[in-house]
Amino acid sequence: MEFALQIVVNGLMSSLVYILMALGFTLIFGIMRVVNFAHGEMYMIAAFLVYALVGSLGWNYYLVVVLSALALGVFGAILERALFRPFVGRELQGMIMALAVSITLQAVAFILFGPNDLSVPRPITGVFDVGPMVIPRDRVAVGASALVVLLAFYVFMRYTKTGLAMRAVVQDEDIASIYGVRPKIIHPLAFGIGAMLAGFAGALMAPIYTIHPYMGAQPMLKAFIVVILGGLGSVPGAVLGGIILGLLESLFATLVNTTVATMVCFGIVVLILLFKPTGLLAR
């Protein structure tokens, strides 16, 4: 019983970070129909910003988390304007462009910081002992911060006019533009917000994992699985998918090993794409 509880707690803590990654990924696809293979690089850049500003310059960690997420938001909007705009509606070309951006950003990070694993000191250490369970304090802090960002995102999408416009574009861009929604503003905004969410995830996880140019690949892969589970372009789907992936992974990683856990996830992805490509939450 305690064992099962520990699996669930571990799973849910990973889930929150996966959801953070997946929300941006799915938002960008929903609005621009671009499969953003460079999403992991947003995570990676934020982690390197934390390394440079906290690790080398000694700035306050919490300030840097917010700053790097904002920086990534601006960067995302610039990327949209400069590179992705010609490919709106051309899904395959847009995807290849995202791959090209991913390769380029990885190479730039490699040239600037080298191939070695870097780390920043953890701002929070120690564990909570809750009954028989052991929960690292820093993971709880990451989970709680992720939850705050997710709630803020939810409020933005649900209760602001811009959020409404975005949801309208996801459903039907042409109809939305009849009602005065301007895609030229919504697209960079969506890309920026997506990149910002990935930036949050990267900055939050930077002290927990090692930092290197290819660190974006894993979270990108998770976001991809989450988004397929929940349905490409669906925001509630990303939340559900994130919870499912976190729990599944935690279960299989504890019982067998992580390779098998990943295989099971990909197996489910294949089945969903074949039989319900719009995801679990499709109407």
């Binding site: 090209a100 390769i103 380029t104 190479a107 040239i111 991809f224 098998v260 992805v269 294949v270």
Partner: protein, 314 residues
């Protein structure tokens, strides 16, 4: 027939080149270009029907592991193992293709990506058969008609032969009615179907031929390196192949060849500076996507057209 002679002459010149002019290092690059030309052509077939397959890395890996294992474990001769491995990959494509090819666009890419990852993870997890992350060392050299081919020049000829076969095959396919149907599938499938053509069969056939070429390319790659490791057959293989096609030009098979010629030597020449090579790849790809969507071949055709028009206006 005229164009056939052109190719025969080019092929003959390429075939004798390593024995007279090429230093060993260039011969090595030649082997790699031949293998990648085959693989890029196999991806060109998929681009033709508008369905980019990210399972091609895994197909290549299955060819490599298949051919190596059949020689090592079953003591089969090279020709049998090589062909059986490639046919096995084509068979797998036939089985999964009938399910997969219904899915279109980016969903197909993501589907084949997940499928390919499962296969690569199987290579890692099934240690007793595939040797785990360390892979299979000591893959035996190929032999043809009783002669073992261990030398670089031998591999060069094999690889050149394979690339020539792949080029001729793809060109022939595009030149026939079959090619016309395949091309129409990406452009207007509904129209094609309205003519009573069973489009799914053509898609399936293309997928199988493409997988067959990927399997052969992979098998030769494995024998050449004498080591088959899972990491050589992951996500970046199909990405590279798409890149070669985009940079070379996806409209013609010669574009795939140009792409391989251009992109394969880079990592070999810049071996000590992999990061600059990736940077160059990324930036070149971005520039082509933005400004030259028809690739090198499109650029050449445009120049040709321009010159021809100038001739006329004189």
């Amino acid at each position: 027939m005229k164009f056939v002679w052109k190719y025969v002459v080019i092929l003959a010149l390429l075939a004798v080149a390593p024995f007279f002019v090429l230093p060993p290092f260039l011969t090595h690059i030649g082997v790699m270009i031949g293998i990648y030309t085959t693989l890029a052509l196999s991806m060109n077939l998929m681009l033709r029907i508008g369905q980019i397959s990210f399972a091609h890395g895994a197909f290549m890996g299955l060819g490599a592991y298949g051919s190596a294992l059949m020689m090592m474990r079953l003591d089969l001769p090279f020709t049998v193992a090589f062909l059986a491995a490639a046919l096995g990959v084509a068979l797998l494509a036939l089985l999964v293709g009938s399910l997969f090819l219904r899915i279109r666009g980016v969903y197909f890419v993501l589907l084949t990506f997940a499928f390919g990852e499962i296969i690569v993870l199987t290579f890692i997890e099934w240690v007793s058969l595939f040797g785990g992350s360390g892979g299979l060392p000591g893959v035996p050299p190929p032999s043809l008609f009783g002669y073992a081919i261990g030398s670089r020049e031998g591999f060069y000829l094999l690889s050149l032969g394979l690339a020539a076969f792949a080029f001729a095959l793809v060109r022939t396919i595009y030149g026939t009615e079959l090619g016309a149907v395949i091309t129409s599938l990406d452009e207007d499938e509904a129209l094609t179907r309205s003519l009573g053509i069973d489009s799914r069969r053509y898609r399936l056939l293309t997928f199988c031929v493409s997988a067959f070429l990927a399997g052969m390319g992979g098998a030769l790659y494995g024998h050449y390196l004498t080591l088959v490791t899972p990491e050589d057959y992951g996500f970046w293989v199909p990405v590279n192949l798409v890149m070669m096609n985009v940079i070379g030009g996806i409209a013609q098979p010669i574009g795939a060849v140009l792409g391989a010629l251009l992109l394969v030597p880079l990592p070999e020449l810049l071996r000590d500076a992999k990061q600059y090579q990736m940077l160059l790849y990324g930036i070149v790809l971005i520039l082509f996507l933005l400004f030259m969507p028809d690739g090198m071949h499109g650029l050449f055709s445009k120049l040709k057209g321009h010159l021809a028009r100038r001739e006329l206006s004189r």
